[in-house]
Amino acid sequence: MKKETWKELTLGTINLNAGNSVQNLTGTWRSGKKPQFIEDKCIQCFFCWLYCPHHAIEVQGEEVKGIKYDYCTGCGMCSEVCPPKEKAIVMVKEEIKLAERSSK
């Protein structure tokens, strides 16, 4: 994405492209671990959705369906707040493929 020069910027740091944070793939920050969603353990409490700092919980219809890895930073919050004894979200190892991510 081409970045503007200082002369091209909107006055007063105003961003007229509101909502453009979707372009910021915070999933590229993830390093080492990622959450894994186990659907049949999920009680649909939505705690993960509520606590996720990057809105990275995939919801379809009215059900939690998984993780949006483009935005998941791997912070582990979802897994931490997941209430069942056998958690529906567990953190698993992830091999980092920097080259693949930066190409996005």
Partner: protein, 393 residues
């Protein structure tokens, strides 16, 4: 027709505020600026202004409120001084960064410790890198005139930068003077209608105000902000000329007093310049070639214009009503000395700090400075580059 009224400095600023009637006035009272806010509150209670008047819980909140109101699209002002301005600190930078043309009447007062309520320039000089335009006033009339012009300067589309107008605590803020108050209609016309750029209250246009910038954009946004204040000199000049045409009192970046054939020159801002004029007159009567340069605009600093006047002097004394501990001289001095650097022919230059915490500076002190300058001009030698006036040694 303009009317001669007996007003003190604070009432003069409040009178200008009444005539311009900003959409929002948000301010917290602090000595010696309180009566600006108090008078505006009375105007509001008496139904003489239509704008909102808000008194939040602190100056930090007052400036935050100004930023919110200005982002919303309003013409906004505040007044404060000293610790109040210091408490606004982080918000001053935000107002400037967001390019919101807020106007502030600052009644210059010393900073604690030790606590002191009297006038010096420590407060605004401390804010000199906050990105605000700074205009200083010698007397009540200038406070009134500058405050009106500040709106036009700050709001100009090439500038869109907040501006503060300084007046010396007590010496100006609480001294009664006869001042020419112009007609309400004429001032309203001069100030014009304020047109906000990207107001938040325009909900048809989606926008984010104050987004986070990391290493990829912060630098460009700061450079963009600098351009605003760098565009200000042209506007300051135009507005000062237009004000003169309309009301008979023209303003520039500084005032020269008997500098034409002067060999030595004193540089001093604000109320002390009035005293200095009397001293210069007395010295001129004795045949001494002494002049005065009174800076009005400190930010943006008119470095080239000031240097063009001072370069032909033999010796110059810059008098600062604030100190910059550990620096090579006080703020006004470092600016002027730096401005003269590029001129092969330049005067000897010295710096005196005076009047901290409201300490008097009298005619005799200016005469002392002038005689020191004459000695420097004669010998070409500077024995003491940095000194203090009227201090018990």
């Amino acid at each position: 027709m303009s009317t001669l009224k007996t007003l003190n400095g604070n009432q003069s600023v409040a009178e200008a505020a009444r005539q311009i009637d900003p959409d929002v006035v948000a301010a917290y009272p602090i000595t010696p600026s309180t009566s600006i806010v108090e008078t505006i509150a009375k105007f509001k209670a008496d139904g003489l202004i239509t704008g909102e008047f808000v008194c939040p819980e602190s100056e930090h909140s007052a400036m935050s409120l100004c930023i919110g109101a200005a982002s919303g699209g309003g013409r906004v002002m505040t007044a404060t001084g000293s610790q109040g301005l210091a408490l606004m600190w982080e918000m001053l930078y935000i107002a400037a960064g967001l390019r919101l043309p807020i106007v502030a009447g600052i009644v210059n007062r010393s900073l604690s410790a030790p606590i002191n309520i009297h006038g010096d320039h420590s407060d605004t000089m401390g804010a000199r890198d906050s990105g605000w335009i700074q205009i200083y006033s010698e007397n009540c009339q200038e406070a009134y005139d500058n405050f009106i012009q500040a709106f036009r300067i700050a709001e100009h589309l090439d500038v869109r930068t907040p501006a503060l107008v300084g007046l010396d605590g007590f010496i100006i803020s609480h001294s009664l003077e006869g001042i020419q108050v112009e007609d309400d209609e004429k001032i309203k016309k001069f100030a014009g209608e304020y047109k906000p750029v990207y107001p938040m209250l325009d909900t048809d246009q989606k926008k984010t105000v104050g987004p986070i910038d990391f290493t990829d954009y912060y630098f460009e946004h700061k450079r963009n902000q600098i351009e605003g204040i760098e565009n200000a000199p042209k506007v300051i000049e135009e507005v000062g000329k237009e004000f003169g045409k309309e009301f008979g009192r023209e303003y520039g970046f500084f005032e020269e007093y008997r500098t034409d054939d002067a060999e030595v020159c004193i540089v001093v801002m604000s109320s002390a310049a009035g005293t200095c004029k009397d001293a210069v007159d007395e010295l001129r009567n004795q045949g001494k070639k002494v002049g005065l340069l009174k800076p009005r605009v400190f930010r943006p600093f008119p470095h080239r214009k000031i240097a063009e006047v001072l370069k032909r002097m033999k010796a110059v004394a810059v008098l600062d009503r604030s100190s910059s501990p550990g620096a090579f001289g006080a703020p006004l001095f470092t600016e002027i000395r730096s401005a003269l650097y590029d001129y092969p022919e330049r005067p000897k230059i010295v710096n005196y700090v005076y009047g901290l915490g409201g300490r008097d500076i009298k005619g005799e002190h200016f005469k002392e400075v002038a005689s020191k300058l004459e000695r420097i001009a004669k010998t070409g030698k500077v024995e003491e580059i940095y000194g203090y006036i009227n201090l018990r040694e």
